[in-house]
Symmetry: C2
């Protein structure tokens, strides 16, 4: 018997003239007085399960079918017919319903067919993929990730796997995780009593990367269009709803490009991946719209449809100062914008995405290109309704003498940037790039505001599991 | 002026009736006595550079064009015409040739237009993307990675980002990298003098993952077809030509599947990604064929064309024992196969890829499904000519009582596998998966036998750079 996925059956891609098999896990079972059971079977391939209609005539009807509970694994064989039930185009009239795996003690099985709090689901992370919400999030996350790779591939970019373990700290900032194989109970020492890192695995102090940007610039300066899509790490604020200690980041880098082209790339990427999600995961997005964030589909559609407004930081400050809005944080030229300011600009002032450009150099990183005014750098942030900053990027400083001045001004040591400086000595060109946080994007798209609900395994305080 | 990539120009996708622009870096410059210079410009979009023909009539001919050296960044504008030169269908007759970035001190610029040893290139990792060999490798690596995602996406798999920092050790084996934010100079202690890991970032001892498999099984048991593609780490043998401390791994996992279906998936994946590389990167593969490994294209084509032979481990041992071949390592039932044995089977005995199945349980991991003979487990290795094992996988033990017995037999503690055991308590189903090492695959496909030459940044002993 050929087997079909729920997605194939529900979209009419399974044959109607011959019996087929579907395999999955029971979501619910309802017994009808007419001597039938309706068993909803899900295999994760779509938001909706397939309704399997099991007649009492099945040999194992009383012994097994009527004992099925949520989470049992089954294999159902039968004919696919149009469904009279609302919300499902097809159902299966079963001629056989085999139980593959039972649920031990169904009364204590954590994933019951009822709503669970997100807090509770974080505590049963190994079982939560079986819920509607985490299943839908996982499919949307996959669609976003695949669309990101597809966008770059179609546009001639190369995916570069920059190092995860690194000896350098990209921005000279951020708390780092140390990576080591030294025996902490018996640390090797130098003659003056310090920890002897020459005995460590890489012969020097090593950390988890906070960004692949500086590394990927070396590829950009030879292959023109490149990007990273990999994990990055920050040892700070890990237990807030907006920050993860471990998160994936997408960092494209383009050669022979200025800030305007960088902004165009950011706009194209966002539109492309949001459109792919709306097109390919309508079933899951309908669920998020109904249960998680009313209006989320219109929010995303607005980004796909509207041209992004571009505005200088200086202009944005004028608008905020003139707004008469009561902000928690005061705002003036030179201050970093807070979420409330960014959201005011996107939601109230523009009513759509805004790309802010040319920020004061004091609040941006040393590698961003100095503008002719001597006060601002060619940085940009993409602000989106409902979240604020979703992308941050810049044109990079390609002039060696200016870069050196900025390194020193930022309190860093030019000697530590030898290879980065070399890129400016040998065939330097204008180049630009940006960073898109992957989990924050998934959270934004699904409306799941806590980033711990969009990762495979949340670290739950007190849990020894993950 | 619209700009085009080298790839577009060389494949005839740039217009011939209007001037276009190409931007990139000079590979070579040759001045002809006829008062012309031939400047080869590469932007990394294809193996071959575009030949820019610069006439002496250009205003900057003497002042700039004739001073161009390898590595200079240029922007050339002109008409695309059919090329009389061998090996290139088109070239550009330049009307303008702007220099964007010079090379400081061309005599000491490390990437000269001549062959470099791979050892030397490892020492200038930030500049080596500018060479033919690393450029070609990077494009092939990208093609393989994109093909992997495309294969899974087209087949209904979901990409799962399993945790990088983890408290569990997937196989109870392998040297781990510790991840910590503790101050090594001032370690917190418990009352009995031990290091107090409750003060560490995650409140317990944490490590870099060695595999996402056990984690991804939790998604497989809800969403049926899933895979990981992410970095994994082993703190051992890091400086050999075949092992990396940090490498990317692809680990699919399929529900309702046995070992035979696992083997079929492995065969389909390998054929798909190798075919994509041969189809899409013919230019780069021709280079690897000519300069790196004579016969590499036929090697890959053989894998694409031939059905994989399936053979039991026990049968393979009989063949090896009967072979009268002189092996460095003796072989008998129960021993793990060495590369020399695997290659004999694939290259000499079969003359193509072989999938060995059903290995002695003693040489395989605890989670592999026990066969009815009580002696072997449902494990498989895909052996390929020229390398030996390229994929290792298994059907997983889905029966809780058998799993528990194997955990104990392997000297592990069932209590540490609570969430993994839960998957067998709640709707367990037969499932299977495998692992494909990404960098080893890139090395195999390009013929670059040292894995340090297929990663973005090799760690060179003594180098403080990366």
């Amino acid at each position: 018997m050929t087997s079909y996925s729920c997605s194939e059956i529900l979209s009419g891609r399974a044959p109607a003239d011959t019996p087929v098999t579907v395999r999955g896990w029971v979501r619910t079972r309802r017994d009808s007085k007419a001597g039938l059971s309706f068993v909803h079977v899900s295999d994760g391939s779509s938001f909706h399960p397939v309704q399997v209609v099991a007649p009492a005539a099945l040999a194992n009807y009383a012994s097994e079918v009527q004992r099925l509970t949520a989470g049992c694994a089954v294999e159902a064989t039968g004919t696919i017919v149009p469904s009279p039930a609302k919300g499902q185009p097809f159902e299966m009239q079963a001629t056989e319903l085999k139980v593959i795996g039972w649920v031990d003690d169904p009364d204590t099985y954590p994933i019951q067919p009822k709503p669970h709090t997100m807090e509770f689901l974080r505590e049963v992370a190994h079982l939560r993929p079986r819920t509607n919400v985490i299943g839908a999030m996982t499919r949307v996350r996959n669609t976003l990730a695949q669309a990101i790779h597809r966008f770059f591939h179609e546009n001639g970019f190369l995916w570069i796997h920059t190092p995860i373990i690194t000896a350098s700290d990209a921005e000279g900032a951020g708390e780092l995780f140390r990576v080591s194989t030294l025996d902490l109970a018996n640390l090797p020492r130098t003659p003056d009593g310090k920890v002897d890192f020459s005995k460590d695995f890489f012969g020097k102090e090593s950390y988890l990367t906070v960004s692949g940007q500086l590394n990927v610039e070396t590829y950009c300066m030879a292959l023109s269009k490149v990007y990273t899509f990999g994990p990055t790490f920050r040892a700070e604020n890990s237990n807030t709803s907006r920050h993860l200690a471990e998160f994936w980041m997408i960092e494209p880098e383009i050669a022979f490009a200025d800030l305007a082209q960088d902004a165009t790339l950011a706009e194209q990427l966002l539109k492309y991946i949001l459109k792919a999600t709306l097109d390919e995961r309508a079933d899951d997005m309908a669920f998020f719209e109904e249960r998680i964030e009313k209006g989320v589909i219109a929010k995303l559609q607005g980004i796909v449809d509207k041209p992004f407004v571009r505005m200088d930081y200086t202009e944005a400050i004028r608008i905020l100062e003139a707004s008469k809005q009561k902000f928690e944080y005061p705002v003036q030229w030179g201050t970093d914008l807070q979420s409330e300011h960014e959201r005011y600009l996107a939601e109230k002032h523009v009513g759509g995405p805004v790309i802010l450009m040319n920020y004061p150099k004091e609040i941006k990183a040393f590698y961003m290109r100095m503008n002719d005014d001597g006060k601002t750098v060619a940085a940009m942030d993409v602000l989106a309704p409902g979240i604020g900053e979703i992308i941050g990027g810049s044109q990079r400083e390609e002039r060696l003498e200016v870069l050196d001045r900025r390194i020193v001004e930022s309190g860093l040591d030019p000697a530590a940037y030898g290879w980065y400086r070399d890129l400016r000595r040998y065939g330097t060109v204008p180049h630009a790039g940006f960073g898109l946080g992957f989990e924050r994007t998934v959270a934004y798209v699904t409306g799941l505001s806590n980033v711990r609900d969009v990762i495979a395994f949340p670290r739950t305080p007190g849990s020894a599991r993950f």
